[in-house]
């Protein structure tokens, strides 16, 4: 993927995340577009670190603009993208189930990691409060990643429905 397209996608995701998405949230929950983009790029593209780099940079922007402390989201995206890069070696990326499983597990781990760090720093929220939101948050992220996958898979793997490569 060309970096300029990836940057545009991340900028749009960042702007929409803080504004438009909050007006259509269900149960006060919205999809995490930066996480979805970073995870998809890290999982689908071979030998490219665009997803990781942009995930870290836009994670930093998210921390600066919305979070109490700088670096938490950025470090979370870094760990998540590295995890996705490692796990793609054993999963078939042409099968949509692979990326959906990675997204579901990734969303859950990221949110628990975020809660754990904030809890360490004195946040009063309980783990149950966070866990209750996970089904909706995961469902939202799966829907977003499904769309991203449908757009990107044609570029990543040509003729991906053809099982017999020459």
């Amino acid at each position: 993927m060309k970096y300029r397209y990836a940057i545009i996608a991340f900028v749009l995701a960042f702007i929409i995340q803080g504004t438009l998405l909050n007006t259509i949230g269900i149960f006060h929950t919205t999809p995490n577009l930066i996480l979805c983009l970073a995870l998809s790029l890290a999982f689908l593209y071979e030998d490219e670190y665009g997803g990781v780099i942009l995930g870290v940079i836009f994670g930093l922007f998210t921390d600066i603009c919305y979070a109490q402390y700088v670096g938490i989201a950025s470090l979370g995206y870094l760990l998540l993208c590295i995890g996705a890069t490692l796990i793609k070696e054993i999963l078939n990326k042409e099968n949509i189930a692979s990326i959906l499983i990675v997204t579901a597990v990734g969303t859950f781990l990221y949110n628990v990691y975020y809660w754990a760090v904030m809890h360490l720093f004195g946040s009063s929220y309980g783990i149950l409060f966070v866990l209750k939101q996970q089904p909706v948050a995961i469902a939202y992220n799966l829907a977003v990643v499904f769309i991203i996958y449908r757009v990107l898979i044609k570029r990543v793997v040509k003729y991906h429905y053809d099982r017999y490569y020459k």
């Binding site: 803080g18 990781v52 600066i64 603009c65 700088v70 470090l75 946040s123 309980g126």
Partner: protein
Amino acid sequence: MNWIREHKVPVIVLSVALVLLVLILISFIRGGTFFPFSGAVQKAVSVAENPVAVASDTVSSAAKGIFRFNAIVKENEKLKKEVSELKNQVNSLTLKKYEQQELEELSNVLNYQAVADGKKVVSGNVTSLDGSNWYNIFTIDIGTEKGIYKDAIVVDGSGLIGRVSDTGNGWSKVTALIDDSGKVSFQVFRDPALMGILKGNEDGALSGFMFDGSAAVIEGDVLVTSGIGIYPQGIEIGKVNSVVYNKDTQLKTVTVKPVVDFAGIRKVSVLI
């Protein structure tokens, strides 16, 4: 050196992770964000997000108008009733005006100054909300150019929202009351002698305790700020949801539903 060259990617990843860890720690120690370019980033993001925020707000209001017509008609009826009740209240308050004048004269004689006295109010729009799904931190489109400073108090038409946690030219970051690790001193509106302390709880609401274990606080009581600490006196915080007396600690604990709907905030006022 050869080992580093052979393991370039893991070394870079570890170095970035280490830098981010240090950033988190420094940010925590300094009590908030400190990133060198945070002001410039916030300003740029605020400028970029403002038109999108206005557009999405307009679309959202229009959509609500279409799909919630019946609800809006009912709300209109309810508001008419409220206006009528408020007119009656104005009439009775006019009678108390003379009483207030007397008290003001007395306060001048005693050289008394309330915490909220002399505070100006500036209003702004919410440009963006926190991307995480449970924290309530948001950015507004006014900042130091309007005289806003760190820890300035933020309210809306309903009551207390929180405080400014960071500010710059054209933007301010607001941390909601339920996210703040700090505590708020309150008094019961019905009987200001009943006082206590509140803070955010693990369910995303507020809970706290009464100073006096035998205080006659009841469910439905409205709580307002007491004026002790950074919050001026008399700002509505919320309504008491439940009251429990703990025999072991001899404390009467209260859980409170905040009066402000944090997810629906669009306009705020800052006391400066």
